[in-house]
Symmetry: C2
Subunit: 200 residues, 2 copies
């Protein structure tokens, strides 16, 4: 039988191992490393975890929020004509941090993936349609990931929205800034060539 | 200013980022992923963290333990003539899981590293000497890591123990099993050549 740490450590290890991307060995290292923490920090961490139960999803866009309506949706200075549709809440910081986007968001809560059993009714698409029906939105940026499921999700939504008078756009795909072209994969390089733009 | 998640999430992120090898981005991913956990699992995790405060270090060997004396030290069926000296408690499972070692352990609690301010008095060397003085131990395996600090620590301890009638051994260094010799580093290869053994 494999050696086991004291049960209190094994339990923490098992919880760490539930986290995405944390394997058995890393979970062990994390659990054991916490023995070096002050009692104060351990207690704080435990409290913080319990406080996660108070986190809500914004009733308008689905973003994470302390309140019923998130900071972005309650900001009346943003542009009501622009809506950016993302798959998950983690994509909002990536866009906000550009400092270039002033519209609102809509979080789908995933992407279509029939093999994983994720169908249109599992995403907040109905809510998106009713937001569009209010008539203020002029452009919808479909910022789903540039992969098979992301593209399929964008196409599906574009189809549903074709009867509304909104511009549908998609974030551009291509070679990332700072990349070395010699290492670009063929698919990305192909897209980058196809979507080449005249220099100003 | 960079986008911030609701403060309850930011706090958990900061705690995750205190863990070794967990960077800012991973900590964010882990904190956000915990929003998918059931309340039950979050509460269990918080409880488990608090229970870490009850973990003790074995009064004899320094291993982690629920009790004052660890499971290994309280096992009278082990070989009292054999003592294996390791740097940290995490090295004990690696040795126990071989199933080949039946002696007891002594955890130094680190290794000599003057640059990091770790001096002999910071390690449990005095305790090791008093265990040796009890006279039961015939062989001490110095299983510190095969790197500069580990070798220096082993040499330092070997020196202190030279007046006692105990055999001092060191775990063998060489090419790990299953490795491809073409990728072996020169230092390891050199050791493996020097320490070559006659085939049986």
């Amino acid at each position: 039988m494999a050696y086991r740490y004291p049960s209190n450590i094994e339990l923490v290890r098992e919880s760490f191992a539930r986290l995405p991307g944390i394997g058995k060995k890393t979970a062990e290292r994390l659990a054991v490393s916490m023995l070096n923490w002050d009692d104060k920090h351990i207690q704080e961490f435990a409290q913080q975890l319990l406080a996660l139960q108070d986190i809500k999803h914004c009733k308008i866009c689905g973003n994470l929020s302390d309140e019923d309506i998130c900071d972005i949706c309650s900001n009346t200075l943003r542009n009501p004509a622009l809506l950016c549709v993302v798959e998950t809440v983690q994509q909002i910081p990536a866009i906000e941090n550009t400092g270039k986007y002033t519209g609102y968001y809509h979080v789908l809560g995933g992407r279509l993936s029939p093999l994983d059993g994720i169908e249109p009714e599992d995403l907040s698409i109905d809510k998106l349609l009713s937001r569009v029906e209010q008539g203020k939105i002029k452009e919808i940026i479909l910022a789903t990931n540039p992969d098979v499921e992301g593209e399929a999700t964008a196409s599906y939504i574009a189809n549903l929205l074709s009867n509304y008078t909104v511009d549908l756009t998609r974030i551009s795909r291509g070679i990332p800034l700072g990349a070395d072209l010699s290492y670009a994969d063929a698919a990305t390089m192909g897209v980058a060539m196809d979507a080449r733009r005249k220099m100003d």
